[in-house]
Assembly symmetry: C2
Homo-oligomer: 192 residues x 2
DNA sequence: AAATTACGTTGACATTTGTCAATGAAAACG
DNA sequence: CGTTTTCATTGACAAATGTCAACGTAATTT
């Protein structure tokens, strides 16, 4: 249990066995069936979720009713509505499972206590959020500087497993395109 | 000197006088004239810059030669090519001054030493990067869910000072629009 | 195994945005 | 103060993307 969680944690910040045992007392396992919600907009995000197994997506609903996916998460990844988690404000995003999934949850109070007790946890957080920030920055830059074809080609190269496990219309949503436009972009790539 | 820097720092993480004096030994002041580069793409970003006075922009060059502004910074804000700073890789972005500016620089080695010596610095970083991440996430979501008119209206409400101090074509660039499209969006807003 | 649902592709057409160029006003420069 | 540069707006036209609908295939459900 929590194998992958600690493997990923240790990749960023090495833990002693005692530290791992301590952190374990703050973790909660959770299973989700495909299509089951982890979080609905308007509720407060009570936990940060780490994916031990499975696949999830985080999305908001645009004014026209369309879903806009802001993030995917597969094994080894973390997912939450971070603003809601940190502030206790109602969540903007929905999170649901695209495949049957097994998660490791860390609650707000556990998060706060670990911040007090374990400096390594703060380092881990800083590194996690920094990585997430840099990925988002790169993504926003590419939206404004690259064509859909270039962006899709980059995406399949960077995240081949996401392309395999999520339907194409979700990839399109994540890229801010309609399924039709992505289909046309893929056609253009093939003809080159 | 460094007044605003420590005011902002203390808003996030309160420092003792001794701690402030210690941090001061790691800071370097720098002045920039309008249009002067702080960082050019291809160079390594050697410092994180805090703005004591003035205004800067960070931008990349798209394949078609257009500038795409990813970030502005005015008094109290921080600016850098963070990936380049952390990894020593060549910078993707350019940073230059839109107004004559006074900065407070923190070098990579100072950053690393402060991380070792002062746990409060790590907390400050975590909080800084978390805020930056949340702002970027919100921005990317709005790109895909709101019209240019709505986005501009939000932007002027959230950042009135940016709208006053940066020319409109730079605001357009930051929004991922051409100046013409932003002008049309503003006309639409006025006719409502 | 049959029925149903989900998915990806495609084309016609509508809408939005970018490109180009011109104009006038404001700001900056000498 | 005169000259030059920068900026914002506008319109015509081109290009890109969204919307709608239909179709065939694959996956899921019954």
């Amino acid at each position: 249990m929590y194998e992958l969680f600690f493997r990923k944690f240790n990749e960023k910040v090495p833990l002693t066995h005692e530290e791992e045992e301590m952190i374990k007392t703050y973790l909660t396992p959770k299973k989700l069936r495909r299509k089951q919600y982890l979080l609905q907009e308007g509720d407060v995000c009570k936990s940060i979720a780490f994916v031990e197994k499975g696949a999830l997506r985080e999305y908001s609903i645009a004014e026209n009713g369309n879903e806009q996916i802001i993030q995917f998460a597969i094994e080894g990844w973390t997912i939450s509505d971070l603003y809601s988690f940190l502030t206790g404000e109602p969540a903007t995003y929905n999170i649901d499972a695209v495949e049957d999934s097994e998660l490791v949850l860390l609650s707000k109070s556990a998060h706060e206590e670990l911040l007090r007790k374990l400096p390594k946890y703060e380092t881990y957080l800083r590194l996690q959020v920094t990585g997430a920030y840099l990925a988002l920055q790169k993504r926003l830059t590419s939206v404004n500087t690259l064509s859909p074809e270039e962006r899709y080609a980059n995406f399949t190269q960077l995240y081949p497993e996401l392309v395999q496990r999520f339907p194409q219309h979700m990839i399109a949503s994540h890229m801010g395109l309609t399924p039709e436009t992505l289909s046309r972009a893929r056609r253009k790539i093939k003809s080159k």
